[in-house]
Symmetry: C2
Subunit: 151 residues, 2 copies
């Protein structure tokens, strides 16, 4: 995938993050891409739905499963503004995604390289590539501005 | 919790696993307990729903979130027939469950003690107790019989 394509898809994930922000949610967004097309979108809805599972990645993956009518997302890539937590990284493995591109690292719970890397564990039955730092500054600003306004 | 209570709740998880089996799904079932009452039930629906996230634990946790109208499941316990995978263990952490009781160990993907223990990682912002082997023989037989019939 070209750097331009990666930026384009991360911008779509950022649009999702802004939707979360508009609802008073921590601004995190994700999209799933299949053959160059976005087939799943999601933004964090934990507070609005009072659902501990309603992370952006989970919602984007579920929409992609529906779009392909398959739980298998081989040949698909996930773009997400913040590094996935252990739950979402497990969801990435369970759905057999090819690759994960994320913007900002999550120093507290990042499971795609920061505090651990579940995508690269040979004991599990699937591995996925990971690339960090796509539109990093913009993804990080969204989060920093949100938490600054809370204080 | 008394051994009798643990067995009673695991039997309810086994009933869920049998529902999955009746639908041709790998027989795994789960329940969430709050103050001695079952507030969430789930069984594996990955194939019927073509949803990579439709594990028993995820569905039981979502139902419990709805029952309490809260994403926080403090003071709740999860009973599940098979040791949770990384995704489900992450979901347990994200929903702040107190404790996990499981029947059979998952030698391939168990993330509550077998190949890793995400419930006991001091770097993450929540930890949960875990006890394995509740109604182990029955939980394991369900799975073994299912896979034997497939062959």
């Amino acid at each position: 995938m070209t750097p331009q394509a990666k930026e384009k898809f991360m911008q779509a994930a950022i649009v999702e993050a802004q939707k979360a922000q508009a609802k008073g949610e921590v601004p995190i967004g994700a999209v799933v891409v299949h053959e160059g097309q976005i087939i799943g979108r999601g933004h964090n809805l934990r507070e609005s739905q009072q659902d501990s599972l309603a992370h952006a990645e989970v919602l984007a993956i579920r929409e992609a499963n529906q779009a392909l009518n398959s739980w298998r997302l081989n040949d698909c890539q996930l773009f997400v503004t913040l590094e996935p937590c252990p739950m979402c990284t497990g969801a990435i493995l369970n759905s057999r995604l090819d690759a994960v591109y994320y913007g900002a690292s999550d120093l507290k719970a990042g499971a795609c390289g920061t505090i651990m890397n579940l995508l690269d564990d040979p004991r599990l039955n699937h591995q996925a590539d990971v690339e960090k730092g796509i539109c990093q500054k913009e993804c990080l600003s969204l989060l920093q501005d949100f938490f600054q306004q809370l204080r």
